[in-house]
């Protein structure tokens, strides 16, 4: 249990584009990498409209399930996989990363840890984008704790270039967002 009260969050606002996105932020590996895949999707609001001023971050293990602790995420050298990426959505609410499939420890379902920021969103949201068709999805602790009709919102789907993970902030098909112990939110 924490002893200090956390500093509250605030919205990222509309003007983060010259503060946070940077060259190469969405390329965890170069597009020419032999194992490169694309992880992409659209961020949508409660009316089903795209959210053009949001920012997505991902944090993932390497394909062998190792957690990489290599610096260089802001200064991509073209060789070092650091496991972290950041992408702003475009005018159509789309984001896109070039990365590799995450692995997981033996028996666990691999996923990309995802953080969502946006104008209009007062605090960041956490989620997970699970790799589809993995045998361990069926007994994943988080997925099995969710109602069946909401599980699918956390599982990416495949397309020709890689994986698609749409994020619905509100309404039909609302993405499951997570809170962790000690996140400063009262337990319901």
């Amino acid at each position: 249990m924490s002893t200090l009260m956390p500093t509250p969050g605030q919205t990222v606002g509309p003007f983060f584009h010259y503060g946070l996105p940077y060259e190469g932020g969405a390329e965890l590996v170069p597009a020419g990498h032999p194992d490169a895949i694309r992880l992409h999707g659209t961020v949508l609001d409660g009316a089903g409209d795209p959210v053009p001023d949001s920012l997505i971050e991902i944090w993932q293990a390497d394909p062998e399930g190792r957690i990489v602790q290599a610096p260089g995420s802001l200064h991509r050298d073209g060789w070092t996989f650091t496991g972290w990426g950041r992408a702003a959505t475009d005018a159509a609410g789309r984001y896109s990363f070039t990365t590799v499939l995450p692995g997981a420890a033996e028996g666990d379902a691999p996923f990309f840890a995802v953080t969502v920021f946006a104008r209009g969103l007062l605090d960041r949201l956490f989620s997970r984008a699970y790799v589809p068709e993995h045998p361990a999805l069926h007994d994943d602790a988080l997925l099995t704790s969710l109602p069946e009709d909401r599980r699918g919102t956390l599982i990416a789907s495949s397309d020709a270039s890689g994986l698609v993970f749409d994020i619905r902030l509100q309404g039909e098909g609302e993405t499951v967002f997570l809170t962790f112990p000690d996140n400063g939110r009262l337990q319901a």
Binding site: S2, T3, L4, M5, P6, T7, P8, Q10, T11, V12, G13, F15, F16, H17, Y18, G19, D45, G46, A47, D49, V51, W59, A61, I67, V68, Q69, A70, P71, G72, S73, L74, H75, D77, A105, D108, A113, F117, R119, G120, L121, L122, D123, R124, L125, F126, L142, L169, Q170, E174, T175, F177, T179, F180, P181, D182, N183, G184, R185, L186, Q187
Partner: protein
């Protein structure tokens, strides 16, 4: 008057202030609210369609979520902590030092981790192309900086005190002066994006973004303190702002803690 069409769509400050007061009353009555902003906070109009309607799902972090991305000397130049030296001339405005410490919920320093800031200039204008506020741009001020915290979690930026600025939440809405902060902890679950404010700002009571944190003590944690020890004679004033990230879930080794 030119603003008639706009005024017919936008609420007045009095209407928004009434909504803020109602939300605050509901909090004091124990209805809802906590140490974080409410995600569903109608006085902040853009939140209406952008907040999840379902409760956040409680879960324990998995391995990857108990670690955080790592940044190093190749990522950030020490010069990026000084926002006043990015151009050939001196920026306009009050030079300030903003310094403090980043710790986790148990008071452990968050060492060697990335801090990013962005802000308006002294006139309340962002360099962002979407900012249409007709205050002057400052050719000597971009308003973005970053650094890596020291071993004791401390950080220090040199910058210019930002001005308040108008926005279109309601008619004649003004944001209190603030600096946007982005922080990482030792765990992915500690990720924080927030805003630092300046003490005594008369706009606090009127601002739905600040007031979305319904707990007064929690709100106060976003306000820096003036610190004369951080001033530089004949040069700059100083503000101290310490940041507490949420608890860490990592099993700490003895020599780390």
């Amino acid at each position: 008057m030119l603003i008639v069409t706009q005024a017919s769509e936008l609420s007045t400050q009095a209407e928004v202030s009434d909504e803020i007061a109602a939300a605050s009353k509901a909090y004091e009555a124990g209805d809802r609210g906590d140490a974080q902003p409410l995600l569903d906070y109608p006085p902040y109009r853009s939140s209406v369609l952008r907040h999840p309607t379902k409760d956040l799902h409680h879960t324990d972090p998995e391995t990857i979520e108990r670690w955080a991305p790592c940044f190093g000397p190749q990522d950030v130049s020490p010069l990026e902590a000084d926002l006043t030296i990015q151009h050939s001339g001196e920026p306009i405005g009050e030079r300030i030092t903003v310094a403090g410490r980043v710790v986790d919920g148990d008071g452990r320093p968050v060492a060697h981790q990335l801090v990013e800031i962005w802000q308006a200039n002294a006139g309340g204008r962002y360099i962002h192309k979407r900012d249409q506020h007709p205050a002057p741009l400052d050719p000597n001020f971009t308003g973005a900086g970053r650094l890596i915290t020291a071993a004791d979690g401390s950080y220090s930026f040199q910058t210019i005190k930002p001005g308040p600025y108008p926005w279109k939440n309601h008619r004649n809405a003004w944001r209190p002066a603030h600096i946007h902060f982005s922080l990482f902890g030792t765990d992915f679950t500690q990720r924080l994006v927030t805003q630092m404010y300046f003490p005594g700002d008369p706009l606090f009571a009127l601002d739905p973004i600040y007031q979305s944190i319904t707990d007064a003590d929690a709100r106060a944690r976003l306000v820096a303190t003036y610190d004369h020890d951080l001033t530089t004679p004949e040069w700059s004033t100083g503000y101290r702002w310490d940041i507490v990230l949420t608890g860490s879930h990592r099993t700490w080794l003895e020599d780390e803690a």
